[in-house]
């Protein structure tokens, strides 16, 4: 078995996933776009227009709420898509129909089959981020102040955030049964979204110290804060080194958990 064969086999799995994705592209995009679209429409267009503004309080002076939520909504779009696009099909493929079997029987280590899932999820996460960004940039009635201070930082954050999101998708996809999907959204996806420093910068949580510490277990915090450092550097944000470091650690930890879960589910 040459390495060439392994790579070609994994590439085959990527092509398969892209074919399936193409078939489900529209519904997936609708699900990805709906939440940020409605959010920015109501909170940054309707509210300011009817005069019920939402502020950010200390630290965000001079920058409107519309700017605050840009990095967070992009991060949510990436995570939500990674979970929808990878965890949901994976629960089915590992479930009663065992559709994963043909890939389990491919002449490739099971760990690599699992990593392929993370990479495909990451690519879809990046696409979701690219789709969500113009929505949250152009819809608000108040000005949005985005400027990329450092492109390498932005690229690094986006890559790590999408990989972490893919790894989270793999963990959820291998640990949740198909009938528990609704529950998974209620117990995991909704809480990490609301407590992911999406709608407020992490620094402002200093007002509620226990919460500021608690949310540090949430991977979405580092995605939002990392993107904040890269896209809206004038707003309070974690030092980029901290969010990047945490993203690396979480990608590795979630990736390890997800791969282990995948092997457990496919090897009896």
């Amino acid at each position: 078995m040459t390495d060439g064969t392994t790579l070609r086999a994994l590439w085959g799995m990527v092509l398969r996933d892209l074919t399936v994705l193409r078939r489900n592209f529209l519904p997936l995009m609708v699900r990805t776009v709906m939440n940020p679209l409605l959010f920015v429409f109501v909170f940054t267009y309707v509210f300011p227009t009817i005069g019920t503004g939402v502020g950010v309080g200390r630290g965000g002076e001079g920058l409107g709420y519309a700017t605050v939520v840009v990095p967070g909504l992009v991060a949510v779009g990436m995570v939500f898509t990674a979970i929808s696009a990878v965890a949901l099909p994976l629960t089915m493929e590992l479930g009663a129909t065992r559709e994963i079997e043909d890939r389990v029987l491919a002449p490739v280590a099971l760990e690599l089959v699992a990593l392929e899932k993370i990479v495909v999820a990451a690519v879809q996460g990046i696409v979701a981020g690219l789709v969500v960004f113009p929505l949250v940039y152009f819809i608000p009635a108040t000005p949005v102040h985005v400027h990329v201070a450092s492109w390498p930082l932005l690229i690094l954050v986006v890559l790590l955030a999408s990989l972490a999101a893919g790894a989270l998708g793999l963990v959820l996809g291998t640990s949740v049964r198909p009938q528990q999907i609704g529950l998974m959204f209620a117990v995991v996806v909704v809480p990490i979204t609301f407590l992911g420093c999406v709608y407020y910068p992490w620094a402002l949580l200093a007002a509620i110290p226990w919460l500021q510490h608690l949310v540090l277990i949430n991977p979405l915090v580092y995605m939002s804060e990392g993107l904040r450092a890269a896209l809206t550097p004038d707003l309070p944000h974690m030092p980029p080194g901290a969010s990047l470091g945490a993203l690396v650690a979480q990608t590795v930890a979630l990736g390890w958990l997800g791969v282990r879960g995948f092997v457990r589910r496919t090897l009896t």
Binding site: M1, G4, T5, T6, R8, A9, W11, G12, M13, L15, R16, T19, V20, R23, P89, M92, T97, R98, E99, E101, D102, R103, V104, L105, A106, P107, V108, A109, T266, L267, T268
Partner: protein, 314 residues
């Protein structure tokens, strides 16, 4: 000495439970290159677990399996290159079409796009699936799905094929069609391990048979050899309204009768030489409300009944 295509030695597997289950309790088997080998056994005998270990998807508790001399547990990737598998349940990729199921299978085995597409076209024709190429796997009937699974399993030209109850749940016509395809594969020289609980399937398709029950191989040989072990050439099945030890004793006393086996609804009489066997049996059974009588030669099911006292299908 030619190397075995598949060598299973002392294979055991227990599932932790609760309740703990011993699925395999020491299986030894040798499959020779080019033969079709049938593993015949009832539900829960350990057929799927055996196939699972041989195909790298189930870890053994103890024992070894070597495929073409390669240890399955130590070098699963090398083994997966050489095998094709039809699983007991339909595991086609439901999100893909028939064409894509075959095409991506080839890609998973490292084939290039053009080769994979060419091979897919070939298989679609060979398995008479061309008009369903664009159908989603989800929409296929059981017989058709099984044909696609078989085509997929051989697509990358494996040297050994595992078929786990390939015709279970199929209508007779689809079963016959699949049997023809399997017989065709054998002509191409591919080694096949087939599991089944249909004695007829084992009888018609295989060169050799092993009977497995409760995780143990009870006997191995050609179908003819196994039937010979029964030690009778005629089996008379009697359906009776009443069962009685006195009748059993009376039948066993008849000279051409070797043995009488008591089933749930009647008796099975193992006899030699059909001439002169039937009239005294009928005469003895009539007072017990003889409802039906069937005469046949030993089958693999007879062998199973003789070994276990139970029927293959309940």
């Amino acid at each position: 000495m030619t190397a075995a295509a598949l060598e299973i030695a002392g294979l055991t597997r227990t599932f932790a439970g609760p309740p703990a289950v011993t699925a395999l309790a020491g299986v030894d088997l040798t499959v020779r290159p080019g033969e079709v080998f049938a593993l015949l056994g009832p539900n829960g005998a350990g057929k799927t677990t055996t196939v699972g270990v041989c195909t790298t998807r189930v870890r053994p508790t103890a024992g070894t399996v070597a495929l073409d001399g390669i240890d399955v547990a130590r070098a699963p990737v090398r083994v997966k290159q050489r095998i094709g598998v039809v699983t007991q349940y339909n595991t086609l990729d439901r999100a893909c079409t028939v064409f894509e199921n075959l095409y991506y299978h080839c890609r998973y085995h490292g084939w290039g796009g053009r080769e994979a597409a060419g091979r897919t076209g070939e298989l679609l024709a060979q398995f008479r699936l061309a008009d369903r190429a664009a159908a989603m796997a989800q929409t296929l009937s059981g017989g058709l799905a099984q044909r696609v699974q078989l085509a997929r399993a051989i697509a990358h030209r494996p040297s050994m094929l595992f078929l786990d109850e390939p015709t279970a749940g199929l209508d007779p016509q689809s079963r016959l069609a699949l049997w023809e395809l399997i017989a065709g594969l054998r002509a191409q020289g591919i080694t096949v391990l087939l599991t089944t609980h249909y004695m007829e399937e084992a009888d018609r398709l295989s060169d050799r048979v092993a009977i497995i029950d409760h995780g143990k191989v009870l006997v191995t040989g050609t179908a003819a050899e196994l039937k010979q072990r029964v030690g009778a050439d005629t089996i008379v099945e009697l359906q009776l309204e009443r069962l009685d030890d006195a009748l059993v004793a009376r039948l066993e006393a008849l000279p051409p009768v070797r043995r009488v086996h008591r089933g749930e609804h009647g008796l099975r009489v193992f006899g030699t030489a059909r001439d002169g066997l039937i009239p005294p049996i009928v005469e003895a059974a009539l007072p017990y409300g003889l409802a039906d009588l069937r005469i046949h030669e030993p089958t693999l099911e007879t062998v199973f009944i003789q070994l276990t006292g139970r029927e293959l299908r309940d």
